[in-house]
Amino acid sequence: MESNRLYNLLVPIISVLLGLLFGAIIMLLFGYNPITGYVALWNGAFGDLYFAGETIVKVTPYILSGLAVAFAFRTGLFNIGVEGQVFVGWLASVWVGTALQLPMIIHLPLAILAAAVAGGLWGFVPGFLKAKFGVHEVIVSIMMNYIALYTCNAIIRNVLTDSADKTDRIAETASLSSPWLTELTFSRLHYGILIALLGAFLMWFILEKTTKGYELRSVGFNQHASQYAGMNVKSNIVLSFIISGGFAGVAGAMQGLGTFQFMSVHSGFTNIGFDGIAVALLGGNTAIGSVLAAFLFGTLKVGALNMPSAGVPEELVDIVVALIIFFVASGYIIRWVLNRMQKEGK
């Protein structure tokens, strides 16, 4: 058991190092200096307060979308629909943020709650259809992504504005940004990161400390055993998808109430949801793991924007991220090598 824990920590760390190593090899092969490349990446992510602020801005929705994917995974469900749930959450938060006039203490929580409810509703559909009709949740989630994309665009154009491409700015009372943080970093840094961390705590608490969480995890381990033990598998599936969608919706609220303060018409997906899959996987589908993985991916993505200053195409980072996921997936082979090394040492 002890050593298992150790491996669970070692595998992601080794994967990250291997990913970075292969990234360096690719840079060498194409005639770039990997050291200057990675230094540029580091400076682009943490070089000064502005970059550090932007990194945290990127990390915030990643944490929540990672939590969303991870939560469903723990119940044995694959929520590939986080993308769409982010969209509806974003729209709902901006809608509440622009349409209502309320004191901040009500307005801001209400806007975030609206996002969670919208995301939860969007998650309810695949969960319900899975539980009731046994329809594969992946296919319904994918369809719901497209429905969210086109519906949100239509609502922005026809309901919230008069054929404009983006909504009005949200009211100050619904905003997560603070003049203090803006002056400090000159970035778009906002208080959303605190909400994301709170979300991580919430997920940990629900799954590890409540009876319902125990049921959810149990269904994830073995549906039949859970059924036999008297748990309602179907209602747990639906609940898991609703909570997962709720997290995703709040990720959208981070964009709407924090980073952008409005929502514009999108021609394609934001990739917050799809990147959330990577975050959850690297984080081992745990709350704390998702937070750490979100920080890593956020850092890599924002830092990458600075890599062209060292002559390296920023797309290199996407290769590194892919390799990290690949190595995490191949944990079995890493364990095997570690085991061999341990035995040789004895």
């Binding site: 259809l129 046994g134 594969h136 369809m143 992504n145 997906f269 195409p313 892919a322 995490v328 997936a329």
Partner: protein, 323 residues
């Protein structure tokens, strides 16, 4: 506009949009029937589209001189198939030999394909997207058949690749259900231990399944690139692979079902494109037509298609000797 005119504009468009999905979904059928989840279809399409466009651009001038310009797209899709098949080995090695979580490995494939292709586009063209392809596929009238009144222009005046796609679905059906190879491939996806006991090489069959999905996914991406997109950028393939995955599940992991589902998606997509010129539909707000294919798919799944059971051993690595 008469009903025949409407059908004559919708049906060719439907087949045109469906072709890349058919190829890719058939690839998915091979992989998942052998027991390997392939959520990396999106990435395989990206790779196929990228290789096809790059091959096409690099060969264009040479082929022009040789007076063989009409062969360029064919060579391009062949190269794309081969490269994507090799690329899919990454997924095969991870999920079969390294016993990786197949969903995770598939996600990695999606990221990797996009990263590698965009990185190389930056390297080779020094910009975010390639130039437009000069020698894509063109529509052709099929000899004699296209002269049939009414149905000729509807069905027999289009891209040859579309007909190849539909034919291929029947070929795949034959291979999977009428040949010993197909029986073996399906058996390792249902009950690998029983298959192994009968002397079927489980690992080998699964490798074949994944590599075939790589080739067909690459083909799908290549056909998309050379008939619809005509260049390659980060947005060329955005979700078509997932749609193909959906088509495969919708079609219940059956080649002809997958083809039917892909044609349905193509039909719905063409409706939203040509709706402006159709009397009944011209006043419907566009958003309803845009979301129609997705809503209809969900309703169809919930209503009369119902439960779809995946191959039994889907997603579980085969470990010799374990029960």
């Amino acid at each position: 506009m008469s009903i025949i005119d409407i059908l004559q504009s919708i049906i060719p468009a439907a087949i045109f949009f469906a072709a890349p999905l058919i190829f890719t979904a058939l690839g998915g059928v091979f992989s998942e029937r052998s027991g390997v989840v392939n959520i990396g279809l999106e990435g395989l399409m990206v790779m196929g589209a990228f290789v096809a466009v790059v091959t096409n651009l690099s060969l264009a001038s040479t082929m022009q001189e040789l007076n063989l310009a009409s062969l360029t797209p064919w060579i391009s899709i062949m190269v794309a198939m081969v490269v994507s098949a090799i690329f899919s080995l990454v997924h095969a090695v991870a999920s079969i030999s390294f016993r990786a979580d197949q969903v995770v490995s598939g996600v990695a494939i999606n990221f990797l394909a996009l990263g590698v292709s965009l990185f190389l586009v930056k390297q080779w063209y020094d910009k975010g997207q390639t130039d437009m392809v000069q020698q894509p596929f063109y529509t052709t009238d099929i000899w004699l058949l296209s002269d049939i009144p009414i149905i000729g222009p509807m069905f027999f005046s289009g891209y040859i690749t579309s007909y190849v796609a539909i034919l291929l679905a029947f070929v795949v059906w034959f291979v999977l259900y009428k040949t010993p190879f197909g029986l073996r491939l399906r058996s390792v996806g249902e009950h690998p231990m029983a298959a192994d006991t009968n002397g079927i090489h489980v690992t080998k069959m699964r490798y074949i399944g994944v590599v075939l999905s790589g080739a067909l996914g690459g083909l799908g991406g290549a056909v998309y690139a050379l008939t619809i997109a005509l260049n390659f950028s980060h947005a060329t393939i955005s979700g078509q692979g997932f749609m193909a995955l959906a088509a495969m599940i919708f079609g219940k992991w059956h080649p002809l079902g997958a083809m039917g589902a892909a044609l349905f998606f193509g039909f719905a997509q063409s409706l939203s494109v040509v709706s402006a010129s159709i009397p009944l539909l011209e006043n419907v707000p566009q958003v309803y037509l845009l979301i129609a294919p997705y809503v209809l798919t969900i309703l169809a799944l919930a209503g009369f298609i119902g439960r779809a059971d995946a191959p039994k051993a889907l997603g579980t690595p085969y470990i010799k000797g374990s029960r």
